[in-house]
Symmetry: C2
């Protein structure tokens, strides 16, 4: 269902806030990022966001809503930010109320991984599907769920934490003491450490910088057997988690973004084989494992879409 | 929201079909079970179901709908039974169409674990909640999901297969080759085998009959340390899966039925501790782990409720 509402999407990251104007999934314009460190606290930063929106509204008078995605826990209903771990001073901030008052526009506030999932569902790899599980793979692994055609937030707006799911009841402890946490196996740092170990076993010295997902992909493409093996192992771990989610939710698709997804067939090939090997025909037949369509712009597009769609 | 619709719930098991009449979660009457083996195929068995419903309707003329729960894969929308593994001859049966025609009543057909989840959500331990994950623990482990106040079926009506989720990427293979399948650790037979192993390690001979969930619970209550240890281990395995589901879905409650749940505090004590140890405060705070309210009658009540609520 297309929308003709013009809206602003705001992607609030750890170091900068990015803004853009969208209509029906199309990015009409992006604004220069706001460095969060330049603003001493929430009030000043929200003030700057409002000033930027006012400027954008001069250029796009049709702007009718604002969607903000934040890297942390949100009370969606009240647009209230509980806490942003990586942004000093952001604790108990009624972002929706303040930004709404300053701009005179309806505001929605969402978790960033949910916004990414929504962008892919509405305009990306999961378009036209009912049940989509989106993952963003980086330092950590975030996730967002579209179930029965709607963003599923859970009882405390905390759903979708795929990186914290366990793939081993006696495995490596995650941030919360959760044994076997997926992101302790397939987060970028853990991938680098694992690759360095595999190279060391073959008496090859590699640094962490040599073992980013990008570098391991390049090595594998150049025929490096160890790099290929590392991708197969990542596929085993990630595939175990995806298969569990598939048994539970029987979705149409997994949509995977972030550095790992950029390895293309190197990861999607073994990942598809692994997941298929763990599912019934019925669950597998309906399932696709897809790379995300959007990358850096998914926050802006997803938040803008959430804001536009919230106007009904 | 109460309903005043009277409906028939039919619980189609491997060996018998049970029928009951319900109104607003209350079981008004149950009928003698129909032994499936007495009927050579679907047509005859559906004929008997229709005859039973006609009899019940003489006594309860207000009966307005029928809900049938079956132990297998269903196309909910069309009320079509794909296959019932444990009932010979049940493959590609348009149950809704045939039973509807024979009785003149609206019919819904649902998977049995989903019906159990719905019974607990509507009238049992999960009443008044929005997001409920229900498990039935027996030979296998089935599950059903209520998300955003509705039964969630997934893209192929195959969601909720909690017993197939992996708790170990290199663990025991499940029925589908899925390594680490939960039910290969906490199904009744696996629990018995594990308990026998633990006793054998202490040079105590026990048979499988001595190691049913009921017997291990009695032993633990009588102060048997090995039996207590077995419950703690079951809690570790089951808790790992529940914590993963909680990270993914951030639900209000897990509702657990079946033999294992009847061990009471022996399982719910260590299970709560395990799950709490693996979650963030935000996810844990919202979560309850509850024994199911209904046992054998959950199929009849859940299917009757689904049928009544479908009339909306």
């Amino acid at each position: 269902m297309p929308t003709y509402t013009t809206s602003v999407g705001i992607d609030f990251g750890g170091t900068s806030v990015k803004l853009g104007v969208c209509r029906d999934g199309e990015l009409l314009c992006t604004d220069a990022p706001i460095p969060t460190a330049n603003f001493p606290g929430p009030a000043a930063l929200i003030g700057e966001m409002a000033a930027r929106v006012a400027k954008l509204k001069e250029k796009f008078p049709a702007i009718a809503a604002i969607g903000v995605g934040v890297p942390g826990l949100v009370d969606f209903e009240h647009g209230f930010v509980h806490v942003l771990t990586n942004v000093p001073g952001w604790k108990h901030v009624p972002l929706k109320a303040i930004l709404g008052e300053k701009t005179g526009l309806p505001v929605i506030v969402e978790n960033d991984a949910n916004a990414m999932a929504y962008a892919e569902f509405r305009y990306g790899a999961g378009r036209g599907m009912n049940n989509v599980v989106a993952l963003t793979m980086g330092t950590g692994i975030g996730g967002g769920l579209i179930l029965n055609g709607q963003l599923y937030r859970g009882s405390g707006c905390a759903a979708g934490e795929i990186g914290q799911m366990s793939i081993h009841f006696d495995g490596v402890a995650g941030h919360y003491g959760n044994l076997g946490a997926l992101e302790k196996y397939t987060g970028n740092q853990q991938i680098a450490e694992h690759a360095m170990r595999r190279y060391a076993e073959a008496h090859i010295q590699k640094s962490a910088e040599d073992c980013t997902p990008k570098k391991i992909a390049e090595a594998a493409q150049a025929g490096d057997d160890i790099a290929r093996q590392v991708w197969d192992e990542i596929a085993d771990w990630l595939g175990t988690a995806l298969a569990s989610i598939a048994w539970l939710l029987n979705p149409d698709a997994f949509v995977i973004g972030g550095g790992v997804a950029q390895a293309g067939d190197l990861i999607f090939g073994p990942l598809n084989r692994k997941v298929q090997s763990m599912l019934s025909t019925v669950v597998w037949e309906r399932l696709q494992i897809l790379p995300a369509r959007f990358s850096n712009e998914s926050g802006i597009i997803g938040n803008a879409a959430l804001a536009a769609d919230s106007l009904g």
